[in-house]
Amino acid sequence: SAQAADDTIKVGILHSLSGTMAISETTLKDVMLMLIDEQNKKGGVLGKKLEAVVVDPASNWPLFAEKARELLTKDKVAAVFGCWTSVSRKSVLPVFEELNGLLFYPVQYEGEESSRNVFYTGAAPNQQAIPAVDYLMSKEKVQRWVLAGTDYVYPRTTNKILEAYLKGKGVKDEDIKINYTPFGHSDWQSIVADIKKFGSAGKKTAVVSTINGDANVPFYKELGNQGIKAQDIPVVAFSVGEEELAGIDTKPLLGHLAAWNYFQSVDTPINAEFIKNWKAFTKNDKRVTNDPMEAHYIGFNMWVKAVEAAGTVAPDAVIDSMIGVSVPNLTGGYSAMLPNHHITKPVLIGEVQENGQFETVSKTPGLVPGDEWSDFLPDSKDLISDWRKPLSCGNFNVKTGKCGGKGS
């Protein structure tokens, strides 16, 4: 409704509610509704109520772009919280840049991107993958690595980074095995057997899994059935959270690992409060929380704070006031928005418990700042991003001292 636009501030929610990604994204829509609801109870923002505009891009990437455009031009939303897969983000990116909108992206991703209009509240590879590998190397004394992933950009990039990183640490070629599977792969018999084989060469072996989405359940079921125990060959995953574990019998998976910036099991008052609200909001005391939810929690609060600081929802003003905003995260610290539009986060390594939760076994002592351009890729190691004026550049080359990548 057009008149309502004056006394409410609209917030777009762009998460798939149907299709293959609904399984992950629907929860994020719900958590956004809850956050908006709570904010309204606190009196809204700038004295106005927030109004959520929910659309369903249906796991269809061009539809993401179309819906983003619709949210920005038709509904005139002040900010959009959404996307899960990288491709959906890539699809909407030009739209947000063209129409100068704001997107909060809550999922861990491969990095190599920094847009003025996007705030990346999920983990960059250095906030998840690298610390996880470090943990395995130091605590589990792993010498041999299986990098298993779904065949798409995030695993490919992450594995490239990890491969470079591992080789830098002296791991030999023959001790790294990379394996890719198609989306939704469901027959893991041979691959798990292969992992077992690779792991019985006498050296301590671990699996770094960037297996995506639906394929995880059959993968873990097969791991359990073939009796691969965490104490023999631990699997550390970057895409498996509480929500995914809810679909699996975790007893055989005791001790397998995940690296995130948040676990539901984290014992802080603020998290307990969040979980309580969440269960109340969804009227389901079995509902679990997970890392991307926390990312939205942080992103939303940052946005609220930035808007209050700017005194307006006008995009340029909000973008400028976002940087440096710091809000409590759910693990007991504060996360801050960096000039590169990524945030600082602690990195937690957790082991799967019988009840489907993670037990934190390691936590970085401080916060890790998100690094958009990986230091382990030759073409991006010289790049930085800083959206503060006067630099205001997403791909500044420190070697050439120019904005715009390495070429110009």
Partner: protein
């Protein structure tokens, strides 16, 4: 000869379709570029792109209807040709980015840079020229369709068997294009385009231009298709749909007829894909997904199989419904859409256009409304 050919297909229905397209071609630019914003007659650029997208789908539906409705080849893989055309255009657009990519590499697209590729793969060569890319839009789907069809038709693969191998084809391409090693950007596909033929791809003028190009392509394809159908060749095609073997015994080499229609249809689909990509701004392997192809079949069925206008209508309406419902009923739209499909099948056996025909026809065709025992020509094959 050519004019006669085009005139042959011009009956009343065709006139109507072409008039509507012509109206669109005049009204849309005026309403977006001339009518000031704020006027109720103003059309936003967003709607133009949306309309353009629907028309691209309409062209795909038209191409599909040509082979399905008239030759009886149910392709469950037509989106493959659409996507290939799209990729050809996407590669051109990618090359146009030049040094404006995030890494500033003037030659290599970003995804190749961060995967450490050192030089452009050979199959990317030439795509910096629009003319070459435009040619590839036709050639790549065309050649694939020709090769595929040549084998399949010669081996007399028909019916569901043909449908399923077209599905296998698009599925295989989907998996292949997902692979980063293929050099097409993997799952992320090709995106972040900057300009086309030197025009800023986001600019309203360019968008309207793309829209007009789509209208023109659709109109031309419509005329070609209806010309073919009205010709004797069209009658042979319909006869093949009905009883292919009988056509052979009359001395027609049915394989070459099928191959002709099939390849032409693939080329049309390729053009549709090529026009689609700059308007939606991304091409990604999921366009190859079997479900996309099936959806295209659904558009045709909803509109009315075997009527070109129906294919266009079905594509536009279903996609409009999808756009509308996903915004208006985000949690329930699948019920709405699914229900629509069921109802159309049950109550409009000849699709939406069939309804029109049912209402206007003086002499109903004599075939009962899908009574359980009704036996129609459809029974013969897919």
């Amino acid at each position: 000869m050519l004019t006669r050919f085009f005139l042959m297909g011009l009956d009343r229905k065709a006139g109507l379709v072409l008039t509507v397209l012509a109206l669109l071609a005049v009204l849309v630019p005026v309403m977006t570029l001339v009518v000031p914003e704020g006027s109720p007659w103003h059309l936003s650029i967003f709607s133009v792109s949306l309309l353009g997208k629907y028309l691209c789908f309409a062209l795909l539906a038209l191409a599909l209807d040509l082979v399905w409705g008239y030759v009886g080849i149910l392709s469950l893989g037509h989106a493959a040709f659409f996507a290939l055309g799209g990729y050809a255009m996407g590669m051109y657009l990618m090359r146009q980015i030049g040094p404006r990519g995030v890494y500033g590499n003037p030659i290599l697209p970003d995804f190749m840079v961060f995967l450490n590729w050192k030089e452009l793969p050979w199959y990317w060569l030439g795509f910096d020229h629009f003319a070459f890319a435009a040619l590839m839009v036709l050639v790549v789907p065309g050649v694939l369709a020709f090769a595929f069809g040549w084998f399949a038709f010669r081996s007399r693969v028909t019916g569901v068997y043909l449908s399923i191998i077209t599905q296998a084809l698009t599925f295989a391409l989907l998996l292949a294009f997902f692979r980063n090693d293929m050099g097409f950007g993997g799952n992320n596909g090709l995106t972040d385009f900057k300009e086309i033929l030197g025009y800023d791809i986001q600019a309203p003028g360019t968008r309207v231009g793309l829209f007009l190009a789509t209208v023109a392509a659709l109109a031309l394809s419509y005329m070609i298709a209806s010309g073919i159908i009205a010709s004797k060749l069209g009658k042979v095609l319909v006869a093949i749909r009905d009883t292919e073997s009988r056509v052979r015994f009359l001395g027609y080499d049915t394989e070459s007829y099928k191959l002709f229609a099939w390849t032409l249809s693939a080329c049309m689909a390729g053009v549709a894909g090529a026009l689609y990509v700059p308007q939606v701004g991304i091409i990604n392997p999921s366009e190859f997904a079997p479900a996309s192809s099936i959806e295209a079949v659904i558009w045709v069925a909803v509109g009315g199989r075997g009527t070109l206008a129906g294919a266009i209508l079905g594509a536009v309406l279903v996609n409009f419904g999808k756009s509308y419902f996903t915004g208006a009923l985000p949690e329930l739209w699948l019920f709405a859409l699914g229900g629509l499909f069921v109802l159309v099948t049950l109550f409009l056996p000849k699709g939406l256009l069939g309804l029109w025909a049912q209402l206007t026809a003086r002499l109903p065709s004599g075939k009962g409304k899908g009574a359980p025992n009704g036996k129609t020509a459809d029974q013969k094959g897919m």
